[in-house]
Amino acid sequence: MTALLEARGLTKYFGGVLALDHLDLAVARNEIVGLIGPNGSGKTTFFNVITGIYRADAGRAIFDGLDITAASAQAVYRAGISRTFQRSRLSLPLSIFDNIMIGNHKHLNQSLWFNLFRRDDFKREFEAGYAAARELVDVFEPHLADRLFEPVAGLPMIDRRRIEICRALISRPKLLLLDEPSAGMTHDETRALMQDILSVRARNKDLAIIIVEHEMGVIERITDRCVVLNFGRKIAEGPYRAVAEDAEVQQAYLGAT
């Protein structure tokens, strides 16, 4: 079986700094891959290169048979990759529903005529969108299910992070990139979030996930495989237990000599 995402020799410079160093990384369908490494090791840069925010200086990325190395952020999204951000990037004055629907852009009819003058048809599409958003919120934020038209600005960070995951999931992507989804959450909150993510994957057999996370308990529990980065280079790869015992990984994390 071919990989869903295959990055080969992906390289990114920022001036003289080598942020990604010939990175090879493959993800299979329905696989959960943990991307770990110390701060500044290139995890978020990898996400930004894959999603078209940064352009790779060398190497290639193939997603689902499509070369996305030089693709725009828009094209990457249309191909079926969506993401969350390390620092929550919701539109605060907009409602929960609006924020989630931004993620569904490719499935919404964007014609001016349809939106302005076919209000009955628009209403039908709106109701379908509402049902889909509601279904996700029922999984991730049941206590907010009746409050979809409240602004996001009034919600605590934990709710916002979960809404961001709903926004990334509503377009039914094939690959979900989660950038520290549990940052700022307590142990129990993190555990509950991971349970929800696993339940979404269980229902959607096509969904693969790459997760950047510092909470090693999470990584151990939910990932099928881990990739460890240090200074933009892959230093280890394999199941969490094997990776955790790797000498180079321990050195990178603990700074032991």
Partner: protein, 386 residues
């Protein structure tokens, strides 16, 4: 039955507010002496502050949000009442027409700046393009005047589009800088252009529809109406149409796109939004509305001159937006009334009116940064039960 009762109960504060505003407006337009105008203005501000203290303003705003269609009809009726009271007064009717058409233009600006976040500091210039288009077409051609209005809108949209296409792919406020440059150049261009009358400007033949000229006074059953009454009805229809279009736009996926790209371009790109495409769309729609209003305004005034469409006038349009509440069409209309009517009634401050605008904007930004009537969260179908 119960639902109908509830609705009536909800509507009551809004209807009372509309009635009060109507009476107040009539009084303000009727009084002549500066002292009386000042007293009325102070009383008005005090009344609003007191009403806000008792939570009445919030109740009115909620009623308007929930029953916009019904209350919109009442607002139209309220304006017609004012017009009826001053049915033979050229000056007052012209003032009302000005308010209606400036409100329409502000709605266009609102699509650009309020929704999509594209700053346009050349609103008055695009308004002027509509007016000049009307002047040229009405003078030199026999194009039907409704078509002339549409051409005014299209000309404004097209020129705006050509102006912005090269800069829309850049980030930051380059587009705003380009519009400032355009606003300054536009006036100079008109002044040196002899075909368009140079600095003296040119006359605009009035509007005629199906052989009925708008510039004739009307007599119905012995009551003489000012000819501005026809323009008032036309302007009101234009404003209502623009209002409905802008509202529907806001309550659609396109309105959502505009908000998304204004608030976070990077996140919007990651969810497939083509930033330049939606910025251009917003600019085109906004400019079309501004140009339409400008074309009608040209015919109302009967004259166009470069001095009417300066950078300073563009700033007035922007200040209407800031004052009323960015993104709230009702707020814009209220703000236009304030910005247009107050300096006209206080003839003494005419020369200092820019000082007054500046002061109002600063006060609003300091004490109520979201404007007089802040924009509520989007409801695609108000009153829909979840």
């Amino acid at each position: 039955m119960v639902a109908a009762d509830e609705k009536r109960a909800d509507l009551r504060p809004a209807l009372a507010a509309l009635g009060a505003a109507d009476a107040y407006l009539i009084a303000l337009l009727a009084v002549e002496s500066t002292a009386a105008v000042l007293a009325l203005l102070i009383a008005g501000v005090a009344a609003v502050i007191v009403a806000a203290r008792f939570g009445l303003v919030g109740r009115v705003a909620r009623a308007f949000a929930a029953h916009e269609d019904t209350l919109g009809l009442f607002a139209v009726a309220a304006l017609l009442v004012v017009a009826a009271v001053f049915h033979s007064d050229h000056f007052v009717l012209l003032l009302l027409v000005t308010v209606l058409l400036y409100s329409t233009a502000a709605l266009g600006l609102n699509v650009q700046f309020g929704y999509a976040g594209v700053l346009n500091f050349a609103g008055a210039s695009f308004f002027g393009i509509g007016a000049y288009a009307a002047a040229v077409l009405n003078t030199f051609t026999a194009v039907p005047h409704l078509v002339v209005l549409a051409i005014g809108g299209l000309a404004s949209a097209l020129i705006g589009c050509l102006l912005l296409l090269p800069v829309l792919r850049t980030r930051g406020h380059y587009a705003a800088v380009v519009t400032i440059a355009f606003a300054l150049l536009f006036k100079t261009f008109l002044e040196v252009n002899d075909v368009l009358g140079g600095p003296q400007g040119m006359p605009v033949p009035g509007m005629a529809l199906l052989g009925w000229s708008f510039n004739d006074n009307i007599e119905i059953g012995g009551i003489r109406l000012s000819f501005y009454m026809s323009y008032l009805v036309a302007s009101l229809l234009l404003l209502v149409a623009a209002f409905i279009v802008v509202r529907r736009l806001e309550r659609s996926w396109i309105g959502l796109n505009f908000d998304a790209l204004r608030l976070d371009e990077t996140a919007a790109s990651c969810f497939g939004l083509d930033i330049a495409r939606w910025q251009i769309t917003a600019f085109l729609i906004g400019n079309f509305i501004i140009g339409l209003a400008g074309a009608l305004f040209g015919m109302v005034g009967g004259f166009v001159a470069p001095n009417n469409y300066t950078f300073a006038d563009s700033l007035i349009l922007v200040s209407i937006l800031l004052l009323g509440g960015i993104g709230n069409p009702w707020g814009l209309i209220v703000a236009t009334f304030i910005v247009v009517v107050v300096p006209e009634k206080l003839q003494g401050i005419q020369e200092y009116r820019f000082l007054l605008y500046a002061l109002m904007v600063i006060v609003v930004l300091l004490f109520r940064p979201q404007g007089l009537l802040p924009r509520p969260v989007r409801h695609y179908f108000p009153g829909r039960k979840p």
